[in-house]
Amino acid sequence: MLFKRSVEELIDDVKIGKLDEDTVVSYFKERSARLDPKLRVYISTCTIKGKKGPLRGIPFAVKDNMQLNDTKTTSGSKILENYGSAFTATAVKKLLNNGGTVIGKTNLDEFAMGSSTEYSAFFASKNPWDLSRVPGGSSGGSAAAVASGMVPFALGSDTGGSIRQPASFCGIVGYKPTYGLVSRYGLSAFASSMDQIGPLTKNVRDAALIGNMIFGHDSNDATTVDREINVMNALENPIEGMKFVLPLEFTKDLSSNARHVLNEAVENLKKLGAKVEERSIPSLKYAVSVYYIIAPAEASSNLSRYDGIRYGLRVEKDSIDETYNQTRDEGFGKEVKRRIMLGTFTLSATYYDAYFDKAQRVRAKITDELLKILQTHDAIIGPTTPKTAFKFGEISSPLDYYLQDIYTIPANLAGLPSISVPMGFVENLPIGLQIMGKRFDDSKILQIARAYEKVRGEFPMPNVENGGEK
């Protein structure tokens, strides 16, 4: 039953000699190989061993949009299907330097654009709680891998909720650190002003542990900050007297069952001595619209480099323009094309003021409003997602699909730290509690999440081996 053990427990097992490092790695590799045909988690597998360090013998998985030497990094796209990494992403390197071993690169929606892995160019991953449902996305492969115990933890990336939403759907912890705390160097860019790498783990202590290892200023990423932070220090402190806001905008569309689960979580927080205030944060209603202007705009530019000239897929035609067109037509999937077109449009000289510039201004307003509230309150809480995992093919309208991120997007727009912790089940499917704080208050949101996790009690794991149905 090694797969049930947390990262911390495994570290201890190795440290005291109860387990040797190779046993742990081969156990998880074997389990991964056995479950992967069911869950379709990995785009590729590998064994990349790190140096000596605290994570000695601890295997982990990496979302396949992070560069790692000696592996392909496809970003879930046909255009990079055979792209061999040119270097190793800083966050991955830090974990390797801490002793970890990468055993696989996980599936994602192409270039992280999606909430289900249905937009992966290769295949869709499955939710370990119900194989007919999506694991969420875009870090769906990483979430399913951790939830099913194929790895003790995994790295994901979060631009609009891509760590937290799949964590919510799969019943695990997903933590998006403050923008600038973790280097983006080596992460295939989607929307650079919001992309952030973070861990997916079984519990909050592991999230804090891995967070500590990947934080830090990176001379290769000019947007990282130079700041000492240790999120383990205050992790077990009580949260008595803390004040939280539960925005009305985060609850009005909830089903009564989901609301019931949320109420229980709120009660638990109150039991710990925290105050929960329900109130409106009016600008939140613009978050999705703003996000779907800014993120595609940045993406349209970030994805220009995939032109078939230097690497990746090239569909050679008679002229340079035809080569560009055909390469990108065949190399990109429809959601990526949709966002490139959207972004190209909103950045065009004619529409820049009406769309991109206005969106930037509204973004600043949302940020201001959130920061103002977080000056007087310790955190903003709510459900991570409006609903639980949906079935494959269930959502066909792009707009409905985009609304998956409605609660997670504000943290990306404002660069805030945010975490999703499992809070219960709605019709046998997990749903998460989201906690976000002000910038660099990562310690505090992890502390709150940890306190909540303790009062909530043990959260079950799905039984994938016997059918994957709960």
Partner: protein, 478 residues
């Protein structure tokens, strides 16, 4: 009278050690694709980090061009597809440039205003199997130049004549060189110029603005604009439409050819570069750089003229180039008078290098040698002509002037006793010329000087020879 309106956009490569956003060497001429890395080749996940030396150089250039340096500026992306642009966008400063509002003062005293200076990155170089990419079977790309730092300098449309545009470019080059931020070499592409020109007719009607690209020498700045103004003027006179377009200068045919109409231009979709933080420059840094700027060519020329009493033209020439002005100033330090130093350097030393189409090199004519030659000449020990011979020999062989003078027997005959018999001889040999003199044609004295010079193989002191000839002819001496 038709009148033209000219504005320039100049790209200057900064000679920093490394590229603008990665640590690759800034060496464009290395073997193709050797100075490249994941960042400048646009690999997935690579991020730009601004090289601080680029900021330093840009500030230096901006201050030397009398610009206002902004404490806060930022970077933007200019998006377009081309195989020499790996990321599919160029990092530039579109919305908030590092500096604005400068000027270059022309020799006439006219100030050509600089609208803005911004930092950006260069693209790679393409090699096509035919003239251009559309006609080529295949093309190759060298990314060594990709990410090399540039400053773009945009002038206001303040120039009215092609000659002014050329002077602006030359002055700009001199300044960039003086503050040591660019080689300023147009032929090698380290300094590039796009010219915008329109023509206004007698009725005040203006033509469309035409942009001329690919101008790769200072001479061609003028030539291309002359050609273009002529072309537009003729079209206007004959009532033809002048389309707003981009044209390329073809140095082979000495003409411009249409490249693309303005309508066909890209929409560059500029937006703030999210990978780079806002560039904040401390006031103290700007002050420090301002105080460390070397004396600029114009200031130097003024000092040479006003404080050292040098001719204006010479002062300008000597102040243009750092090596040359140092040579000049060192010459005065070792006791050559400023006037002698400037005349000799401009007329003799520089013409040696020009004649050999070589770059100026102070080692070729050491100052101690130059001083010897000037001393020889001033004391009339050798003739001006012999001096030229000596300096030429110094340039060629590096020999000491003393040795050359001795070896070539160049010491001037400047004593009356030895010259008088020779002058007498010349007079005796040319009775007809003597006759002319007697009839009042004083200028024939020169003839006798020439004759004496011939007899002495040029070693006679011509002044003295003239004086003696006159005296002998007038019978003042026997």
């Amino acid at each position: 009278m038709m009148r033209s309106v000219i504005g320039l956009e100049i790209h200057a490569q900064l000679s920093t050690k490394t590229k603008a956003f990665c640590s690759c060497k800034n060496e464009v001429d290395a073997d193709p694709n050797t100075n490249i890395c994941p960042i400048c080749t646009g690999q997935p996940g690579a991020l730009p980090v601004l090289n601080d030396q680029v900021v330093e150089y840009a500030i230096r250039g901006a201050l030397a061009l009398n610009c206002e340096v902004h404490k806060v500026s930022s970077f933007d992306r200019k998006n377009y597809f081309y195989p020499d642009l790996p990321k599919g966008y160029q990092i530039t400063q579109y919305f908030h440039p590092i500096a604005t509002k400068g000027y270059v003062e022309l020799n006439s005293g006219k100030r050509v205003r600089i609208r803005r200076i911004h930092i950006e990155e260069d693209a790679g170089k393409m090699f096509h199997s035919s003239e251009n990419i559309t006609e080529s079977e295949s093309s190759l790309v060298d990314l060594n130049r990709c990410g090399v730092p540039l400053i773009e300098i945009v002038s206001e449309p303040d120039m009215e004549k092609p000659q002014e545009a050329r002077e602006f470019m030359e002055k700009l080059r001199d300044v960039l060189r003086a503050v040591e931020i660019s080689t300023g070499n147009m032929e090698e592409g380290a300094l590039r110029c796009d010219a915008n020109v329109s023509v206004v007719d007698d009725n005040g009607r203006s033509s469309s603005r035409v942009e001329v690209k690919n101008i790769n020498s200072f001479r061609f700045v003028q030539r291309a604009l002359e050609y273009e103004i002529d072309r537009i003027s003729k079209a206007m006179k004959s009532g033809k439409n002048v389309p707003m377009e981009t044209r390329g200068w073809d140095s082979a045919s000495k003409s411009t050819v249409s490249m693309r109409s303005k309508e066909a231009e890209n929409d560059y979709r500029y937006f703030p570069e999210p990978d780079l933080p806002i560039l904040v420059i401390a006031e103290e840094r700007i002050e420090r750089i301002k105080n460390s700027l070397p004396e600029l060519p114009d200031e130097k020329a003024k000092r040479y003229e006003e404080k050292m009493g040098i001719q204006k033209e010479n002062a300008k020439i000597l102040s243009k180039d750092k090596g040359l002005s140092k040579y000049f100033e060192d010459a005065t330090e070792i006791g050559i008078s400023p006037k002698d130093a400037s005349n000799w350097i401009v007329n003799e030393v520089m013409s040696l290098f020009n004649a050999n189409s070589a770059e100026f090199d102070p080692e070729k004519v050491p100052l101690t040698y130059l001083k010897k030659i000037i001393d020889y000449t001033n004391s009339t020990k050798i003739s001006r002509l012999a001096a030229k011979e000596v300096i030429d020999e110094v340039y060629k062989t590096g020999e000491d002037p003393d040795t050359i003078v001795k070896k070539r027997n160049l010491l001037q005959m400047s004593d009356e006793d030895s010259l008088v018999p020779l002058v007498r001889e010349a007079i005796a040999e040319n009775p007809k010329v003597v006759e002319q003199y007697r009839k009042g044609k004083g200028s024939v004295v020169g003839f006798f000087v020439g004759a004496v010079m011939k007899k002495t193989n040029g070693k006679a002191d011509p002044k003295l020879a003239g004086k003696l000839a006159k005296k002998l002819l007038d019978g003042e001496i026997e």
